[in-house]
Symmetry: C2
Subunit: 555 residues, 2 copies
């Protein structure tokens, strides 16, 4: 059956018949014209013969193909066999027939009698093999080995123990001996990048179209993000998106268990009140609106509305022209706000336990994903949590002191008016890791000068405030505070920050306090930053499904 392998190349004896008839007439123009006509006729004859030949071959092939119903387009007839997940496969599956739906990660024809597929399902890889053996035909082997990479196929096969572990697969102790291959969704022949090339971490500096030491293409972060759907298919991206899902799940779980109410505050607001700058403007019918920079004022209005304990999971918008590894213009905010009885440390303690819960449970519930991600990003190492299950808390001034001991001395003005620089924060993170063996800690009592107007000053020392930041690996993931609940104090604080309480837009917020509001505190977490620092990812964009920054508004 070897001739069927090259159906478009006709055999010599079948195409030479017309040619000799045209030769031998070579003397004048008429002869030339006749020759030309004859040549054209010969050409046409040849083409007709070739088409007939191909049709005959196809028919013959169809007739001879013992496997013709075992591959190709997915049959119309309804097959109700449920497909098996790769995660369900084990040594118990040996010698059993299973049906899987997976992507073609790689396809290779070894010979006319043997082809290999690497199958991929949510980043997990299993090898499949097809060999000539009734009813498997050579045509079926050719079809299978020639599948376009990234196509989605439905394969039925026998699970076998391989002679040696399949080192290129993630599931190495089994392979699939193919019996059926149907196309579910065919990928184009050319892809903008190969998923397997995106399995390796992007270069820390952007380089275009280079190869690494082993000669494999380097795919830059930009290329990945431009082709994010392909990039999401990697084992690492699959794991990261699970961690992100897990953080919000754990946040909601803890809040709900605490009796908190899930709220949805408006993102379309009438004025740029909170801070004033860095806010996106929206055309709202015949007027202007803005995108909320945080749910801060609305969370507080819910507290004034007697809701006592509330949380929100929602996008946060920042029109900040920051092009760094840790800034996004849209990110996922995890916010909470809570009344307290006597002291804001009731809420601070609650928030510390929340974070310890999230980080501890991430390790417990997502250990497989964490291990996967560490293969690509091993540098940061395991995230260290406090051994006793209680968050490490110190005052801002203790942090200043630790830095001073390490040779970083802040001036009086720097201490009370500037807060730490990012470099100082990172250094402090390292000092605390070395000294206390934890990557998560809390700083309390920040200088009043560096906090927003609604922050409660420390009643014992007005240079400080009842506010706190949470840190992971030396970078901030949450900012929070006791809020001012007394209207006179609030208006005075606004004035001292250069804000005018009578300005349009503050009215609804301030009325909430004029009508009585209980003492409360809260905080806002950045989901993407938690994921980034927990995993030690080099860039927050890797922790966002479709990241947005000043340069990027797609895909």
């Amino acid at each position: 059956m070897a001739e069927f392998e090259l159906p478009t190349r006709p055999k010599p004896e079948e195409t030479s018949a017309a040619a000799p008839a045209a030769e031998g007439e070579t003397k004048n123009a008429a002869k030339n014209a006749a020759k030309k006509a004859a040549k054209e006729k010969a050409k046409a004859d040849k083409a007709a013969a070739r088409a007939a030949q191909e049709q005959a071959q196809a028919a013959a092939k169809e007739a001879n193909d013992t496997a013709k119903h075992l591959y190709g387009p997915l049959p119309e007839a309804e097959d109700v066999t449920p497909s098996t997940r790769f995660t369900q496969l084990s040594e118990d599956s040996y010698e059993k027939e299973v049906t899987v739906v997976a992507r073609v990660d790689n396809a290779r024809v070894q010979s006319a009698k043997l082809a290999f597929l690497m199958l991929r399902q949510q980043g997990q890889k299993v090898q499949a093999v097809i060999a000539l053996n009734e009813p498997i035909s050579r045509q079926m082997i050719k079809y299978t080995g020639g599948l376009n990479v990234n196509s989605i196929v439905r394969i039925t096969g026998l699970v076998k123990k391989p002679e040696i572990p399949i080192s290129s697969a993630t599931i190495q102790n089994l392979e699939l001996h193919i019996r059926k291959v149907y196309m579910i969704s065919e990928a184009a022949q050319m892809l903008p990048m190969q998923v397997k090339d995106a399995e390796r971490p992007p270069p820390t500096e952007e380089k275009e179209n280079e190869v690494d030491e082993s000669g494999a293409p380097i795919v830059t972060l930009k290329t990945r993000l431009d082709n994010r759907v392909l990039d999401l298919q990697t084992e690492t991206s699959q794991a990261i998106t699970w961690i992100s899902s897990g953080v919000s799940e754990l946040f909601a779980e803890y809040m709900i268990k605490s009796g908190s109410r899930w709220i949805f505050t408006p993102k379309l607001v009438s004025s740029a009140t909170e801070g004033g700058s860095n806010v996106f403007e929206v055309k709202y019918f015949k007027r202007n609106g803005y995108l909320a920079q945080s749910p801060q004022l609305y969370k507080q209005m819910c507290i004034a509305g007697d809701m006592e304990n509330v949380f929100e999971i929602a996008p946060v918008f920042r029109a900040e022209d920051s092009n760094t590894h840790r800034h996004l213009t849209e990110f996922s905010g995890l916010d909470f706000e809570k009344t307290f009885d006597h002291h804001y440390h009731e809420v601070l303690g609650f928030a510390e336990d929340l974070l310890v819960f999230i980080l501890t449970q991430l390790k417990e519930r997502y250990s497989a994903q964490i291990a996967t991600i560490q293969k690509s990003y091993p540098k940061a190492g395991d995230f260290k949590l406090p051994k006793d299950g209680k968050a490490l808390r110190m005052n801002y001034m203790d942090g200043v002191e630790l830095l001073k001991q390490a040779g970083v001395d802040m001036s009086e003005q720097e201490r009370f008016e500037n807060d730490f620089t990012t470099a100082m924060e990172k250094q402090l993170g390292q000092i605390i890791r070395d000294k206390y063996d934890t990557d998560f800690y809390v700083l309390d009592k920040f200088p009043m000068a560096v906090r927003p107007f609604y922050t409660k000053a420390d009643p014992k020392d007005a240079r400080f405030s009842n506010s706190y930041d949470f840190f992971m690996r030396g970078e901030e993931i949450m900012s929070g505070a006791q809020r001012i609940h007394n209207i006179d104090e609030l208006e005075a604080s606004m004035r001292s920050k250069g804000l005018d309480p009578t300005q349009e837009g503050f009215e609804d917020y301030l009325n909430a306090f004029r009508q009585g509001c209980p003492p409360h505190a809260g905080g806002g977490l950045g989901l993407n930053r938690i994921v980034m620092f927990f995993l030690g990812l080099p860039n927050v964009r890797l922790a966002s499904l479709f990241p947005r920054d000043p340069q990027r508004l797609r895909p």
Copy 2:
């Protein structure tokens, strides 16, 4: 001690001393001038005497006030007694001393020896009484009875069984005998509306400043929403916001249990692709962006990114100039998207079970809140769920037939090109309720002409589509469908809907299908509508914390 009750009115014998000296000189101008000066002196003397008198009285009062440390501003000294929630009080609390933090719903001085407070905590009301009885002083009674309504106080008192149930309270079988009253947050004397007047439902038509049959003020929906923080304090609003929280909690719970991944897709997008109209424009640095009308295209891109089963809880933005009882310009969307093996009914069945789970569990977990809301909105009655726990599903054409039997005959064109009108939907809801005893049902196989471009046509009859709507009380709460996953079919569908696949903005979406995408289906639920129709609320704005419509962008 009766004289201390009116300290600003001096006694006659103390103020008459200066007056007689000025009398008897009445003959000339000098005399007149002298008289005037004398009068002024007398006035000044009087004022001085009065001030001295007041000071003396205040000191005497202070000295005599046996209760002076039992009321007034919250003492600085730290009291670590945890406060008791109203929900923790019961007959077991009789004769026990408790401390509560609550709002003053009403304050009334009965006599110099007796005053009453109605206390309110998240809408729940408990009566408190204060009577003259050592060490309680008349001053303390006056202070307590004169508290501004809506102020937040910290009260310590003895729980007592009242002689007769307190009919105006929600907790009627106990009252609090006050021992201490401290101010936590004082409300202004004048409030734009009384919370108790907002306990009654708003009029169905907007009327300004009217009173109802009993003479009580009618508070319109507009007034409530303008003063939403006060409105949230009512028992009914408290219950509604709990139901809203519950719907999202139950949605997330069910999705997570099904192995779904929580996603956060961007709300800032580069082009107005989905449908094209009714989209808010955003100034995005030096270019234009838009607010996503739904996560539809991104959910599908996540599926193409091998995420298999995803859900999102996020705001949805619609720049639609619809001023109806059920439209908002920003609402909370509950979205899901899921691959399937053989038939989209796998996903449809999943979604039906999701809704049955949410609605059944709402009744189970939030029965108290539902009962509270029904006091204000009794008209719609209990929400009826299918008895067998399985959703009622029929085809669109079955709905057409039911309407026909009821005398509403749609023309051939109406059937295939128009879909039901809102009136028809409501009538069909009533027919189905009467016939099948359920307020929740599903219509499958909508006409292709009324569905968006990404909807999969019914392979057996191209006039129809593999799409479905979910209804509660005859109004749509979810729209969903199998999506086209084949790029050629998708491009053809776009063209047939008048869309150009080569238009900028579609590129990233279409590439996802060029690179292979599994068959999938999904849906998008409107959280606010679920709450509204489940509870039978007359307006969707009551089911949104801070509603947004074309006219309203505040509070």
